[in-house]
Symmetry: D4
Subunit: 150 residues, 8 copies
């Protein structure tokens, strides 16, 4: 049993590294979107040519990034989506909906204050947690059957 | 040719009625989530019993509502998602992702100010517009081949 | 919006009639397995010839009934599975698993005493209830958006 | 030709080990649910926080375990489901229905006394057997074409 | 509940009419291949131009007929395949395999003498019968729940 | 048996009308793209706003038209694609590939001179013909079993 | 590029070995049904217990063998089906239909005398050939792009 | 993360080599159709026997090549389609439609002069570019997150 886990959503803290470090030794590979915010925003025009209109600037980048994010979700055995404190993060909710429609199991991570606003997303999830540590503990349990020591 | 069009997202203005009125006579049926905010929030506990914990109160409602929203998206020939001015509206983005993964054509409606934050959602759409009138004009064109008179 | 709802499981009380009566006037059609226990048990040999071995007697009947039950689940917009007080009812749990794998929304009905034994089935459901009245109220809400009067 | 075989159902005897031992050397990998009953029951609250209500205690655990069981069924080339002597084992029947809807070949194992109650599950199976030894012999035949020596 | 039933296979007796007559009044529609043997053999060249090579003569016809037969199988709720006394009837077995892969329930009809040669086809079927009367009785039972009077 | 037939490709002759006229009385409905060339080219900017860059002008229109063409292909029981004498007609070949991947039966219509260049498209087709009259004759045969009178 | 090729059908000559020998060095793996005729016929009762009725004797074996054949077809990149000189070989035609419905490319091998009777099977194939040598040459061409030396 | 990228379309320049060279070191494998034009045209008759009629000559070859091209598209994580300066290239557009219907991300490459004629194909693409260098830069970005140095 080896799983590929896609870590979607918030890109301004090191939560992906925390999970990966805590899961070292488990038969799990992690994938992610491009987490360099500037590169992610500008990739379309940097490669395919400038656009005077910001909408098309964004469009070229978002469609290019979608190749990576959609492929990664489709290849994933599990999708973890983290909603952070900043920004609208509609792409995180979009990823959650996309993954759910493909039948991928979903773990959603967010602070308690967002629980009401995220109730539809949480309702599609197999688990809702608040911290990377909990996500890692779930992965440890799922892969080994062992609960975290209390 | 008859289409069922699911109108997802914002529930605090009468944009659904505007589109329906402008499309009268077209072979189009419209579906929608429950748009009574209070009923939508409380449906789970009202029917299945109170929950002291707000998370499970929300959870019961959201999972019940999901029966209607997922069925409607799956039955739709086209999904229109409107992002309004208020709230986080993560459920709208979730619906967009869900619909896109099912291969449903998508029209996204929002003000220009949200364009950057919604670039991933727009990138999955067949069209991005700002007003219900534009959405209705697209439906008129798609069903009849006639462009709006200028 | 018109739904076909498959009522699976227990066949020794009139719960299907209760739901249908309470939903009169809603755009909902109900389907069900053959609920005549004796006919259901003997249909295979009655039409296709006697079997001295009880296993093949049962097998012929169960495979014939499966044509109706699988077709009905596949055609359903919603599956309601009721676990009653008697018998092992493994076929009800099988139907629930079958429906869930097809992505059908699921309502599970059972007494509180079975909650622990049915936790995996409930975990796949959009709602867990105890009475036909609750199932009917959910259908009313889902089709009309109106909550039951308290 | 290498197969992954999911061994579902009863967790109180060592039938999984018996099959694995008898199949040593065959190009077959075995997967299973978490078979530590206590860990499986409590995993949700142990990681995600206590629930005063037993229903949600169970629910959190069952949904977490579902990540493992559904992924394993989806990745399996063959699903073997054993119904033991104790408990209701609705989850085993649920797994059988789930696997069958995904088109997975199914081997069902149970004592003769359960044959009538399990007739719908047996009707979906490619083979019904009583012992782990028979399941192992089928795997040996399927992988090598050689029948067991009599 | 209304079913479309595809009647595949043997085209030299009136078995389709027998079933249809016996099922009058049931909510069942029947579809079939073109049963005019000569027209079915020559349709390709009659419309698309002569072929000196018999292989391409047959090929053009078979590919044209496949539009009807594949569409009909895909639209069917149930497929009945009859193997008659004459010819190789590989197309009947092909249809059975095609239908089974699509998850269509299958009823196979043939004389006892063909049972061994058809064991793989029968193994994929929900029922094996010998006469059109039995097929009609199964349909009557499946639609109404009533067994034939003895 | 009622079929919906999508008529894709060339929009500068009245071949669609010829087929429809010849098929009057058959249980067949025809669908098509928007065949008003100017409206089809400009629909995006006419409704959603001007674009100074011709690429985005075309893009907006093509994505809007794709809602109609993809929905129509997905809803079709049969797709007829005609390649005419003028233009590159890459959209016709794209439609053929799209339809084929969805498993739709395909009839391709073109003059003999294009046979070599269209060999990959013809290889995916159930029939290759040259005239609307032949397409209509095939439909007549497929729906009624009767060959055209010679 | 590595392909798995399923070699279905006739089991009384060494055609599978001929193809495998001719393809040595190519990135191709071959799979096959159990080709020991006696073991294949008796596997069900040898493992699962005797049946006095020949129909169930055959049935148990055919359903057990189906685990291997269906899994192998589903895992194949290409299916080659050979119709030999003897027996009805309905299982070969069934496999062809099954493979075709799953979208697997198909090569059919048979003598010219069977061409008319196999026209529906040939019509679903990517290629029809007469000898194992031709099948091997096609594989060589498909994997390397090199035509056989004349 | 390892991707297989199918390079479809134009076969008269070395654009595939350019991309592969520029992507050396990335976890990407490339697949392609047979690019030897003469072998590709004649493969059918060279292996399966001469055809006096050019249509069937082409047909046999195109159907044989389709085994490789369809398998490669289905196995691809990304499809790049290049439209060159010569020929009709309907097979390239067919491949693009086929890939898009399977949900494969698509990069389309062509000179600006073809933009209007290819607008429907471009509308289905995640990116439109003009040069192999741009395609390689996109792959580099998608696999590593690093933009090309300016």
């Amino acid at each position: 049993m080896h799983w590929t886990v896609y870590l979607s959503g918030e890109i301004h803290t090191n939560w992906r590294d925390e999970i990966a470090a805590a899961c070292e030794g488990l038969p799990v590979s992690f994938t992610a979107p491009v987490t360099d915010h500037a590169a992610s925003d500008d990739c379309g025009v940097a490669i395919l040519g400038e656009e005077p209109n910001k909408f098309w600037h964004d469009h070229k980048g978002a469609k290019l990034n979608a190749i990576r994010t959609r492929n990664a979700i489709e290849a994933a055995d599990l999708v973890v989506v983290r909603f952070g404190e900043k920004y609208r993060q509609w792409n995180a909710a979009f990823d959650a909906g996309y993954a759910h429609a493909l039948g991928k199991p979903l773990i959603v991570m967010h602070n308690a204050e967002h629980a009401h606003a995220l109730k539809e997303v949480d309702a599609a999830a197999n688990a809702t947690c608040e911290t990377p540590r909990q996500a890692a503990q779930m992965l440890q349990y799922l892969m080994t059957g062992a609960l975290p020591e209390s």
